[in-house]
Each structure stands twice: as C-alpha cells, then as structure tokens.
C-alpha cells in the first residue's frame, strides 16, 4: 500500500511543547518539507532564536545553533560565511526579529546574506505570556497594552515583508499564512521558493508567516483562525513583495 502522508524526515518523531491551536507546528512542517524536497537535510544548519521557537533543535533533525535574542541573522551570517556550502536558515518570532533584533535583520538583509529567514508573526510575545509585540495590531489588547495598542504611544505595527523588500540586498520577500488549506498550499510553495533561492545561490530570502496564538489571544483554535482571517490578513496582506530571480 502506498503511504500518502508521513512525517518529513527533517522533523523528529516527538511531541512538541506548542499549545493547542498554535501554528508553529504547521510552519515547522512546511519548512521541514522544503528541506526534504531539496534533499538538503544533511547540509542544513538551523539558527534558533529566543521565544517559542527556541526548541527548534528538539523538533528539527538538523544541526542547530541557538542564538541570543534577536541576533539570529548575525549568527546565521557567521555560520554561513564560515560554511558557505551549507544551507542556513533562521526561525524567529516577531519580538525577536522585529523588536530586539531589528538591527540584525535589516543589516543581514541589506548585505544580501545568502540565508533564508522564517519570520513567524503572531502579534504577540508568546513565550513570555502575551505582551505587546512590534506587530501587535492597533487596538489589540495584550498584557502590556491593556487598553489596546495605542499608535500614538506605541507606533504602528511593523510590516516586515514590505519593509525588507525595499532593500537592494533582498532577493525574495513574501508573506504567507497557514490558517486554511488553500493558504497552507500557497505557503508551502512560497517557503520552497525561499529555500530555492539559497540552494541556487541567488541571495537573501525572507518569509513572514502569519500565525495564530490562541493561548495568548484568549481564544480557541477556531476563533483564533477566524481572527487571523478577519483582522491580521487585512492588515498584513498575503503577497510576494519581491522575487528578484522570478523563481
């Protein structure tokens, strides 16, 4: 009998620590599938960040370097420059990449480092318990914006995929979501493209993945998915913002 569905070999056969309804698992799977599809597991190095994504090494069956908070693009730069023949990707959340690590991501992108960046945007700091993130939506209540994000005080949410696409060093920048079968299929295609850029040596690729965090949003999984559709996608449009190599 043909097996039509199985675990990607780049993922370990373990239970994750992620909360029910969290979409990190789905995103992990898509990244692992891309690694499998290109047959690059034996030369892939992951760079884990700080936050819910820190346990990258527990789930991915690849070598991993754990980075200080926000510094994954700098760590990846060092690793990739030391081993240019390896595939190096970072996996970072919104607080990590768009707040404390803004400098590192912008400069790695601007240098056009030959790495792939997976940016998971769930509009909150998940690991520390739901504080306001740089991507928290206007009016969104969090533990540190109890009255809702006030743009006059906190500024507007960062749109990282758009922002980075403006840099000459960026070859590929896109935003995807994994909240529906259609979006998952699209996300898979685009994440594969992002890895193709590195496999073919064509430059820096950035993927922003919108993700649900039901626990910190105070919702169940279905409500969270609905919020992603109703509130997040309109603010953070799904799009390929740059595809320099038309891959």
């Amino acid at each position: 009998m043909n097996q039509v569905f199985s675990r990607p070999i780049s993922l370990k056969d373990v239970q994750t620590h992620f909360c029910p309804g969290c979409q990190h698992g789905a995103i992990h799977r898509l990244v692992a599938e891309a690694i499998d599809d290109f047959g690059i597991r034996e030369r892939t190095i992951g760079i884990a960040s700080v936050g819910c994504s820190v346990f990258l090494y527990s789930y991915f069956d690849v070598d991993v370097v754990e980075s200080p908070h926000g510094r994954a693009p700098a760590v990846a730069t060092g690793t990739k420059r030391a081993r240019p023949d390896r595939i190096v990707f970072t996996y970072q959340g919104d607080g990590d990449l768009a707040a404390i690590g803004t400098s590192e991501i912008i400069h790695a992108a601007n240098r056009g480092e030959a790495i792939t960046v997976i940016f998971v945007n769930n509009t909150t700091y998940g690991m520390t318990g739901g504080q306001m993130a740089p991507t928290t939506l206007p009016g969104q209540k969090t533990s540190t914006s109890p009255e809702g994000r006030d743009i006059s005080n906190d500024g507007a949410p960062f749109k990282m995929a758009e922002l980075l696409s403006n840099l000459d060093g960026v070859a590929f920048s896109a935003r995807v979501a994994v909240n529906s079968p259609k979006n998952v299929l699209q996300a898979k295609k685009i994440i594969n493209t992002a890895f193709r850029y590195q496999v073919e040596g064509k430059g820096f690729a950035f993927i922003e993945v919108l993700s649900a965090c039901p626990t910190n949003w105070g919702m169940n999984s279905l409500q969270a998915n609905q919020r992603l559709t109703d509130e997040m996608i309109p603010y953070f449009p799904l799009n390929v913002y740059k595809n320099k190599g038309n891959l």
Partner: protein, 353 residues
C-alpha cells in the same frame, strides 16, 4: 630566525590572527583599535577569509558566535564601549562552550571616557563581564612581540578549553611600534571540533550549540564542570614573568603597559642598590596565584601599579600569603596620566623596607 619587522601592536595582533588560521573577522570601528580591522580588511580576504565591518558590536560578536559554532576560527576586536556591548554575545559563547577571540584595546571610561591608555577594564575582563557567572581566558601582552605571540596563544587556548579568550591591552601597547619576529604558528595538539554544526549526516549525531539548559541538574552540572575546567586552566596555563625576584626585598607587580614602565623603574632601583624585582602576570585569567603565593613566602612587600584606582590588586591580595604587605600606586585613566619610570621609582623608594 626570521627577519625582524617593525610593526604596531595592533597590527601584530592582526598578523598573528591570520597566521593562527583566522577564517572570519567581524568588527566595528572604534579608537584605539581600528588598525586591527583596517589591516584585516586588506589582508584577510587574500587568505580566503571573511572580513565584515558589522553594523554594531552586538552584531559582530554574534557573527563570531555563529562562525565559531560552525568550527571556524573567528575573532572580533574593540575597546571599552564596544566591549560592553559585546558582553551579551560573550556570555552566550561562554554558555555554549564556544571558542573565539576578543581583542580589547582598553581606553578610558566609564561611558565614552577618552581614547588614552587605561587598565580600568581589568575587572570587566577577568570577572566574565556579562551575566550568568563565567570566566574567560584573559591574556595581557606587554610588548608588540607578545601581542603577536599571545594572539596565537589565545586561539589555541580557546579551542583547547572551549572558553572564549580575550587579548587585553591598551593604547600604549596597541599603538606602540616595536621590532618583532613574526613567528610561525606553533604546533599544538588540538582536539577535532566534533561538537561544531556541520550539517547532520545520516548516522551522525545531531549537533546543537546552545546555552539554554533546562534539564534537571543540567545547569548546575555545567557550572561545576566549568569550575573544574577553570582549575585545570590555572594549573596548566598560567603564565607570568619574574625579573630579579630572587633576592628581592620588594616586588613591584603590574601587567601590560604599566609592567613595561615598571620594568625600567626596577632597573633604576637596582642601580640605586635597592633589591627590587618585578612580577608580571601574563595570564590575568587564570591569574598566576600560586606564583604570587610562592614569591610572598620569601618577600613580604609588594607594590602594585595600575592605570586605575586598583583592580588587579584584589587578585594580588587574594593570592599572596596573609602576612604580605601590598601597597598600591595608581594613575586612574585620564589624558596625561601615564606614569613615568621615574615616578614609579619614587614610589619604590617610599615603600622599600
């Protein structure tokens, strides 16, 4: 013997790093160490190595972390304000047991301070500098030749013990030019970096370089293991220089630039018939405590000289026998604060028994 060359201390560091097999340099310009990135920007790419002028000191040290995790010899260099910024990365490297070389050409502080020589970052360097409780190897050259030799040593020690290593000097040693021999890299038996990330092959274990330790007892075990490693380091790798200590009634002690100045002051004292010696620690961590203890068994007076209000003196006092009298003469950093040999000689006269 190779021909002597005439180079700046900072250049000697850069030359030695290349000779030691440096593959990746990441740095940010700051006075008085910019000769190092300038030299490496020119010369490192010729050897196939990578040079990046990074957007920040934080970015630079984390690139060192990433390159080192991949098994490459990597280095960064800076001075006070930049070294403060790098402490995050140094702490993570220490927690991840990653080698790597950090060069600190000290300037004055706190804050922006000034660019003249200072030794006021002794505590920062020898006490770890960042959070979490760790030490790094600290080497203190007192000549351009030592800038060269100890930079190579820093790479070897760091690889051997999997502890970040710092070359700690100041603008006197960094900017000074001296005639040196650019020795070839010494042969040292180093273990293969089997822990490095390389792309996990089928049948090979997954390599993870990390500092997060959440398992039961995992963190405590790490700290005790490091504690033991520091002891081994102290037993095997402590370096120091003694000059005319055999019959000394007073031992002057200083590191780096002040040791050089004191060296001449000791000669002046000898010419004046005073039995004075010099004890110069070359490794500041590990501090050569046992050598101080041995000296203090027979000489009961020490005079500690520093470009600060006194930092190394803590280690001197912790090392010597209890009945030893340790005096201090310091010139806290500031423009025009470099003591002269004559000035130190006067201090010697003051405390000489």
């Amino acid at each position: 013997m190779s021909e002597k060359i005439f180079v700046k201390g900072n250049e000697a560091v850069a030359m030695a790093a290349i000779e030691a097999g440096l593959r990746c340099y990441f740095g940010y310009p700051i006075t008085p160490q910019s000769d190092i990135p300038e030299y490496l920007a020119r010369e490192l790419p010729k050897t196939g190595g990578t040079f990046i002028q990074v957007e920040s000191e934080i970015g630079a040290i984390n690139m060192v972390l990433g390159a080192s995790a991949a098994g490459a010899r990597a280095m960064t260099s800076s001075s006070g304000p930049g070294i403060s910024l790098k402490q995050e990365g140094i702490s993570y490297m220490a927690g991840s047991e990653l080698p790597g070389v950090i060069v600190d050409i000290m300037r004055q502080g706190p804050g922006l301070g000034g660019i003249d020589a200072s030794q006021a970052d002794y505590w920062q360097a020898t006490r770890g500098g960042g959070h979490g409780g760790y030490r790094i190897i600290v080497l203190a050259p007192a000549s351009v030749q030592e800038m060269y030799d100890l930079t190579m040593r820093a790479f070897d020690l760091s690889d051997l013990y999997r502890i970040p290593a710092m070359v700690l000097a100041d603008s006197v040693i960094g900017q000074m030019k001296e005639s040196i021999v650019a020795n070839p890299r010494p042969e040292v038996d180093l273990p293969a970096k089997e822990w490095a990330v390389r792309g996990r092959r089928e049948g090979e274990p997954q390599n993870v370089v990390k500092s997060l330790k959440l398992g039961d007892g995992e963190m405590e075990a790490f700290h005790w293991a490091m504690h033991d490693r520091y002891k081994v380091l102290a037993d095997r790798e402590s370096l120091w220089e003694e000059i005319q200590t055999g019959d000394a009634e007073l031992i002057v002690t200083a590191f780096g630039s002040t040791a050089r100045i004191s060296r001449t002051a000791v000669d002046m004292a000898r010419e004046a018939g005073l039995k004075v010696g010099l004890m110069r620690p070359i490794t500041l961590f590990p501090f050569p405590s046992h050598a101080y203890l041995a000296l203090s068994q027979r000489c009961k007076r020490f005079l500690d000289i520093e470009l600060s209000t006194g930092q190394m003196i803590d280690d001197v006092r912790l090392s010597v026998a209890r009945d030893t009298e340790v005096s201090f003469y310091g010139r806290p950093p500031g423009a025009g604060s470099l003591p002269t040999p004559e000035e130190i000689f006067q201090q010697i006269r003051k405390v000489y028994p």
